[in-house]
Amino acid sequence: MNPNVKFRDGRETPFQARRRWLTTFAAGAGSLALAGCDRAVNNPRIDATLRSAEKLTLASQRLILDHQPLAKEYGERDLSPVFRANGTSMPASKQYAQVLQGGFVDWRLQVDGLVQRPQALSLPALKVMKTRTQITRHDCVEGWSAIGKWQGVPLSLVLDLAGLKPGARYVIFHCADNLGETADDTGLYYESIDLLDAYHPQTILAYGMNGKDLPVAHGAPLRLRIERQLGYKQAKYINRIEVADAYAHLNGGKGGFWEDRGYEWYAGI
């Protein structure tokens, strides 16, 4: 008798029945384990416990990076042939279209918040300040890397120009692109860093890339380069820098567009 052929009256052979049971059981156990993992991922208490590791990562990296070491700088021959643009490649707002049309002549960088002297800096005003050029690696949170040459003004110079007020702890970057594609401002890109990273020598406001003006896809007219953290910290299309003592009052309260969507505020890992 072939155990794989059903009985003439259509009944399963014991062999087939056992196999059906085993398959059902295995599939059931498998999906139960999977569902268990997904439930654990969505459990707020487990999530809060897992988030504690981020503090450990930040504390240990701060210990190691306390002396402000420089990220590795590369040579011209190491440049990526094509530097992938990520996130927004063309902000959709009318205001952006207008300043782009006018060659950014009417564009100003607002510097306000906890500063002594709020600023409204034009692109030429930024360009006459001391320049830093660096060939560095851009590391996306997804896992790819690209090497580019960036030219800009150290953020520390702009902050010193405005003068920090006591209580200043964070530098918040407000951007022109609505990556969340919302009708209101809640989808606007923003980012925040603390003063240790803000005053790092390689933290610059870049207006040039690979020897040319910063392309629109890479954040024209001005983007942040903060070389010891991942790509999503490198805010593009910056039009306002706010110095503050906290960032919890903004949007999702986590200090950045991607942070509000679950990613770590400290992106050094």
């Binding site: 991922v41 504690s52 990526s80 094509v82 530097f83 996306c140 949170v141 690209a146």
Partner: protein, 289 residues
């Protein structure tokens, strides 16, 4: 773990079978760190697959993104027959629809590197995958440090893992390989210790593969790279470190498969008991020397 403290005795045996004796096998240090490691490794592997899925391409060198040459990629292609999964390794391309590149997620075909049943969470969520990965990476590193320090202090490495000169003799190595292939496992006194293939494999895992996992993982951190440029020099760039991280993880999976098969064929309950209670049964008669 001193041997004297471990109770051991002869197990009652049926007539016609060799008398068996329970002997101390694994110290508490080895047992506890082993199971924590099993737990961490499983979660790190599945959350690692989740992270890999965010960009299922691997490169060599200092940079690597979509326009650069990938030595391995898991691609999802749209075809007339629906979504197709294709793995490219060097010049090879392998159809993997259903497993890699295109598999079902919530009963609908989805473009994803590894399938839902291999990733945590099952759906695509890079942020959650990273959060889990880094938490269990910390636990894994702390557990590994306890094992390394404890292993030195208790002379576990020297006593149990370091092969003797005689064991490393080519003739002995060949004999061990032949015995393993025939599933001929040591009995009696010889079963009290690891054989030389076990020693070499465990040393390779504990002192080469697992440390490489940690170091290549740390090389993917832009923060640590700025403090230790040497990481980038040693591994040849962040994309290379990511590739090596993947290769070492694959080798560890291969090790686990062989390890589990060996546990199954050489007496699963005896092996499991020895890794849980520490006691291992050996047959008193029939020594194979």
């Amino acid at each position: 773990m001193t041997i004297a403290r471990m109770p051991s005795g002869t197990i009652p045996h049926r007539a016609g079978t060799a008398p068996r004796q329970l002997v101390p096998r694994h110290s508490a240090l080895v047992r506890v760190t082993h199971w924590i490691n099993v737990f961490c490794f499983s979660l790190l592997l599945m959350t690692g697959a989740q992270i890999f899925n965010a960009h299922p391409r691997l490169y060599w060198g200092q940079y690597g993104a979509d326009n650069d040459h990938a030595w391995l990629s898991i691609d999802s292609l749209n075809s007339a027959n629906g979504l197709r999964g294709v793995v490219h390794v060097g010049a090879l391309s392998i159809e993997t629809t259903g497993l890699l590149g295109a598999s079902k997620e919530d009963d609908a075909p989805a473009a994803r590197g590894f399938p839902a049943w291999l990733t945590i969470p099952s759906y695509q969520d890079l942020a959650a995958g990273r959060r889990w990965h880094f938490f269990f990476a910390w636990l894994f590193v702390i557990n590994g440090a306890v094992y390394l320090v404890g292993g030195l202090v208790q002379r576990h490495f020297r006593r149990d893992l370091l092969p003797t000169k005689a064991e490393l003799a080519p003739a002995h190595l060949v004999q061990e390989v032949v015995d393993h292939a025939k599933l001929n496992f040591p009995k009696g006194e010889a079963a009290r210790r690891y054989n030389v293939l076990q020693k070499l494999t465990y040393m390779g895992v504990a002192f080469v593969l697992l440390p490489l996992m940690v170091l290549t993982g740390l090389t993917m951190s832009p923060g640590l790279d700025s403090a230790f440029h040497i990481l980038l020099d040693v591994f040849g760039g962040r994309p290379s470190a990511r590739s090596l991280h993947f290769i070492c993880a694959s080798l560890l999976v291969a090790f686990v498969v062989v390890h589990v098969v060996m546990v199954l064929v050489s007496g699963v309950w005896n092996n499991l008991r020895s890794m849980i209670t520490g006691r291992y049964a050996i047959e008193l008669d029939g020594d194979q020397q």
